[in-house]
Amino acid sequence: MTTNRVPVIQNLFAETAQGPRLLGSQCAACGAPYFPKSPVCHNPDCREPQIEEAAFGPRGTLWSFAVQYYAPPAPVKYDEPFVPFAIGVVDLPEGLRVLGRLRVDDLRKIKIGMAVELVIDRLCRGADGSEVTTWKFRPV
């Protein structure tokens, strides 16, 4: 039996033919990347903004992280019983610094500066028994 996989929020990430990607936008004029998509460019110095759709990932570098040791309040999602999880901040070569949970076997092996890649992974079990997914980063 296969479990139905449902993204926690639609249109933020996708499994493409090239692998998992974050769905955002980027200004062709100044290069500023946006995730989630922004219909406008927020760079105050960008004179002639030209926003285009962009897919970010999969490779990046871990800029920093924290490990959540207490069960956070709603609307943060997790499976019961609560297990500590790591939250990373990852710099992508497209110039995007983005948050994402880290999928690691051992929390002690997370190192700032390590190469990571995007993965679409389980966030928690949904009310209907489906598997709710989100994007995460894992060590390469």
């Binding site: 309040p73 999602k77 610094r97």
Partner: protein
């Protein structure tokens, strides 16, 4: 611009006060500030109030209107200022600007808060159009994890140790034990801090600030009135407000732009540097700092982002004891947010009271010797920041 003096200071102690409304907390702070200034309620020409979304304010953040109804309607104008945790500093800036600009001669600034239990929660909006909701649902990064992430980066960059982080908490409580308005006055050892449970690695329970109830009020006036009313005026050298730069690298939402230079809290840096510029002074002239230490990390990051030391040197300030009340650069001799707990919108007004008591030489056992110039700073949701420089 006219010179502006702080002539009245009033604080309701920080704690949990289940039997009191936020307006009652504010009333006690206001009555104390008016009494300290020798000013009657009737003489207050305008009120700048920090606007809370947690308590009072008729659900609309109209906390200044609650105050004026409670103290007695006089027809005075009320400004309700919303800026997250920077709201108290924002209200102070508006009160200052009203007097400096010559619109009013005597103005009251007030901030009060009754906080819900636990760590500060999200807005409660559960819509996919709300960026904060999307961030929490998809990733989940409560405040302490955000601070932990910033702190972790610092540890990687400069080799900051867990002991150094703990020492900042120890220092805070060593100073705060003497403050009658502080909520958490027990002393800790480094070992006790390190044994407190990890909340969001690398930060422990005693290294982050909880939430509290509290209120603070100050009376501001023109120089003419200050000379007639008091022999101990404290002068506002400058008061500033700022928001963040586009590419400062702090991931306040789900993502941001990788910055061209170092990552920094640009809203706070801009506010503090503008405050220095407008006051015509620099870091060397500062006798003490009251900064927003939601976590011990900020006591390392802020001083160097503001030019008090070189990047990576802040740990040495702690190790050398420079930041204790009798040190070379006292930071948070009040005990800071760690000893008070954050009554969000009241903090910016409370900082002004703490700085002014120091400049008057009335800070008791936490007194900074010969304090002449004090710097206060707040940081709030939405990339708000404020700074204030007071002088004798």
């Amino acid at each position: 611009m006219r010179d502006v003096a702080v002539i009245g200071l009033g604080v309701h102690p920080w704690g949990k006060f289940d039997g009191k409304s936020v307006t009652q907390l504010c009333r006690e702070a206001i009555v104390a500030a008016l009494s300290d200034a020798g000013v009657q309620w009737r003489e207050i020409q305008a009120i700048a109030a920090a606007s809370s979304r947690f308590s009072g304010g008729k659900g609309w953040g109209l906390n200044g209107n609650d105050v004026i109804e409670d103290m007695g309607p006089t027809g005075a104008p009320v400004y309700n200022l919303s800026a997250g945790c920077a709201a108290g500093g924002n209200a102070f800036n508006v009160g200052y600007s009203l007097v400096a600009g010559g619109l009013y001669d005597i103005v009251l600034v007030v901030g009060g808060e009754k906080m819900p239990k636990g760590f500060i929660q999200m807005s409660g909006v559960e819509e996919e159009s709300d960026p904060e909701y999307v961030r929490q649902v998809c990733v989940g990064m409560p405040g302490p994890a955000f601070w932990g992430m910033l702190c972790m980066r610092r540890m990687a960059d400069y080799g900051t140790t867990e002991e150094q982080l703990a020492k900042i908490a120890v220092k805070a409580h060593h100073a705060g034990q003497h403050n009658p308005n502080a909520r958490f006055r027990q002393r800790f050892t480094v070992e006790e801090v390190l044994k407190s449970r990890v909340v969001s690695w690398p930060l422990r329970l005693y290294e982050i600030c909880p939430v509290s109830d509290g209120a603070a009020a100050v009376v501001l006036c023109s120089a003419d009135i200050a000379r007639r009313r008091t022999t101990k005026p404290v002068w506002v050298a400058s008061s500033t407000v700022a928001t963040a730069a586009f590419n400062d690298g702090i991931p306040r939402g789900l993502a941001t732009v990788v910055p061209p230079g170092r990552t920094e809290h640009s809203e706070a840096t801009t506010a503090v540097k503008k405050a220095f510029e407008q006051a015509g002074i620099g870091p060397r002239d500062v006798s003490l700092i009251e900064l927003q230490d939601n976590t011990v990390y900020y006591e390392l990051a802020f001083p160097e982002e503001w030019g008090f030391c070189q990047p990576g040197e802040a740990e040495m300030l702690v190790e050398r004891g420079d930041t204790v009340p009798t040190g070379r650069l006292p930071i948070n001799p009040s005990g800071g947010f760690l000893c008070f707990g954050e009554a969000t919108t009241a903090m910016g007004v409370w900082q002004v009271c703490e700085l002014a008591w120091q400049l008057r030489g009335e800070a008791g056992a936490r007194q900074v010797p010969n304090a002449k110039v004090g710097l206060g700073q707040t940081l709030g949701l939405g990339s708000n920041a404020t700074a204030v420089i007071l002088k004798r």
